[in-house]
């Protein structure tokens, strides 16, 4: 059974169509939700939470129809909103215990679980402080913790690394990755930061103007380019460069010293090795350059 299933879903705010016939299925793993501002990412998440009723089409989570059976579905999902959300007057432990109780946990269980989850997201003794004293990064961790407190099967994460320093960002991404790979939690990650998506997700959905314009695994989408290679030779690099240029290749030296070589379509890749042999050197590094996710994204939204 698919965890998320959307079939021709349409949502509009008055005259504005926010989602136009969105159809997709999420079976598991980590899925990145990419799209420019106003593309419909947040509307899609809100529809999955059952906040918004679709004008047309069908949406379901874990087989529960939305929004009719949203409460059953919400029991199994955790949501981390984009905006800062803190209960200022209480401590993190108290807030998470409360969140656990809202999921139907016994207070003692919820309290124990709150400590575990806060420990997991790296909140030390500050968990006992009132939340109004927290930094942006700490609030981000609390938002993540509250989404995990009831051990959800699906996590909807909206810009989870917002406001985090580089170290905190990496830590957060590693936590999400661990949940996916080791705990089998399905993650739907909405982010503008393509490196974050690349770090965590194995699939992406590119949404633009309310439509899914591209979807697939990152491996499939970032296919190798046909004629572009990154090459490094052991010695006689200058002679090798000249030989490549003579053969009709276009060259560029990368900051790491490697050569970025675009060969003419008529040449076979083995030419690189033959030319190296002719120049009395060896090829030490030879990689077909792949499409970057950024390029795929820009292409999908028609900016390329």
């Amino acid at each position: 059974m698919a965890i998320v299933e959307l079939n021709n879903v349409e949502v509009s705010y008055g005259a504005i169509k926010a989602l136009r016939g969105v159809t997709c299925t999420v079976e598991g793993g980590a899925v990145g939700l990419l799209g420019p501002n106003g593309a419909g990412k947040s509307t899609l998440l809100r529809t999955l939470l059952g906040f918004i009723r679709a004008d047309a089409g069908e949406a379901s989570l874990f087989g529960y129809r939305l929004p009719a059976e949203a409460l059953e579905a919400r029991q199994r999902l955790g949501y981390m909103p984009e905006r800062d959300a803190v209960a200022r007057k209480v401590s993190a432990v108290s807030f998470l215990t409360y969140c656990g109780c809202l999921f139907g946990m016994q207070r003692s269980d919820a309290m124990e679980r709150a400590h575990e989850v806060l420990n997991y997201v790296g909140m030390g003794d500050s968990r006992y402080r009132k939340m109004q004293t927290y930094s942006t990064g700490m609030c981000q961790r609390i938002k993540f913790a509250q989404a995990l407190v009831h051990d959800p099967k699906l996590l909807l994460l909206d810009e989870p690394t917002n406001g985090l320093d580089p170290e905190g960002r990496l830590e957060m991404l590693e936590l999400i990755k661990e949940l996916v790979t080791k705990r089998g939690v399905t993650v739907l990650l909405s982010s503008h930061l393509l490196p974050d998506v690349e770090h965590v997700c194995d699939h992406v959905l590119v949404i633009h103007q309310g439509r899914i314009v591209r979807e697939g695994s990152i491996g499939e989408l970032t296919t190798a380019r046909e004629n572009l290679f990154e090459i490094r030779v052991r010695e006689h690099q200058e002679a090798y460069r000249n030989a490549l240029e003579t053969a009709g290749c276009v060259l560029q030296t990368l900051p790491n010293g490697n050569l970025l070589v675009e060969k003419p379509a008529r040449l076979e890749p083995r030419v690189f090795f033959e030319l190296a042999r002719a120049q009395n050197t060896h090829v030490r590094h030879f990689v077909a350059v792949r499409h970057r996710l950024e390029e795929v994204f820009m292409q999908a939204i028609g900016r390329h």
Binding site: R46, L49, F51, I52, L71, E72, R74, Q75, L77, G78, Y79, P81, R83, D84, A85, V86, A87, R88, K89, V90, S94, Y98, C99, C101, L102, F103, G104, M105, Q106, D109, R113, H115, E116, V117, N119, Y120, G122, K143, Q146, A147, L148, H150, D151, L156, E178, L179, K182, R183
Partner: protein
């Protein structure tokens, strides 16, 4: 799992199927009772109750041993009399305190959730709008009842304990029902009005000021309009007077407010409550969509 282990553990407990609003009530009460100013306000409420305890104690002691002429005279002092009027007056005086306490406790209850973006967190849990509204309203109702129905009923019990007998019981058996109904009449519009204002305004200060101004303006209008049109029945547009009119009937008191049938006053109070509920529900619905 030892607490120092930074790892994620699956939760294998079964969630309870219960009233989620009750979880909200408990949390709100926990937060309120953790606020010093709120506790001070409750202490102020105790002062009036202590005076009533003193009054009932003195009156009932005198009733039992009314041999001395000085004590007999004390029994006839109107202020020391204990009858249905005592319990009605207690609630009337407490109603201003209920207003202040409800304003303090409730004006930030919803707008702070909006400000802190907690609405979308709450509604991402298995919580309905009704649970949310019920949770907040019942918290304020309980706080209101803590200041009105509960102590007033206890005063009736005290009166029966100090002056035991069939006569006292016959005189007072119906009073707890009147207390409950009149308390609901005071607390419900107050709680729902403050919550609706909290939902409609962006800050607790504005919400509090708005409620205060509405009640003040409404009372002033309720006093001025009957004079202007020379018809005392127009006093009904003042919510405190309408509530008072219902109270007079519930406690079998002579009419002092206005001659219109009490049913109209009850209807007016009901309409105010219904309007507040509607405003509250529609604002929460909009917030849920926009969160």
């Amino acid at each position: 799992m030892p607490i120092y282990e930074q790892t994620y553990r699956a939760y294998d407990g079964k969630p309870l199927r219960g009233f989620r609003w009750w979880v909200m009530v408990k949390q709100e009460l926990r937060v309120l009772f953790g606020t010093r100013a709120f506790v001070y306000l409750l202490i102020v409420a105790v002062i009036h109750t202590s005076f009533r305890v003193f009054q009932i104690t003195v009156y009932d002691m005198v009733s039992v041993s009314s041999q001395t002429p000085a004590l007999m005279a004390l029994k006839n002092v109107a202020m020391m009399q204990v009858d249905e009027r005592t319990f009605f007056d207690y609630l009337r005086i407490q109603s201003s305190l209920v207003f202040i306490v409800t304003l303090f406790a409730g004006s930030g209850m919803i707008c702070n959730d909006f400000r802190d973006n907690l609405i979308e967190i709450y509604f991402s849990k298995p919580l309905t709008r009704l649970d949310y509204i019920a949770g907040k309203s019942i918290t304020l109702l309980l706080v209101g009842m803590l200041l009105t129905a509960i102590p007033d009923t206890l005063l009736v019990v005290l009166h029966n304990l100090l002056a035991p007998g069939r006569e006292t019981l016959r005189e007072t058996y119906w009073i707890p029902f009147s207390i409950l109904a009149f308390s609901a009449c005071i607390v419900l519009p107050c709680a729902l009005g403050v919550l609706a204002s909290s939902a409609l305004f962006s800050s607790e200060r504005y919400a509090g000021i708005a409620v205060f101004m509405i009640v003040f303006g409404n009372s002033a209008l309720g006093t001025a309009l009957p004079e202007l049109v020379r018809n005392p029945n127009f006093s009904i547009i003042s919510l405190p007077m309408a509530i008072n009119r219902v109270g007079e009937t519930l406690f079998a008191q002579p009419r002092k407010s206005f001659p219109l049938h009490w049913g109209w006053s009850a209807l007016f109070v009901g309409l105010v409550c219904a309007f507040c509920c509607w405003a509250l529900a529609s604002r929460i619905r909009r917030a849920e969509r926009a969160s």
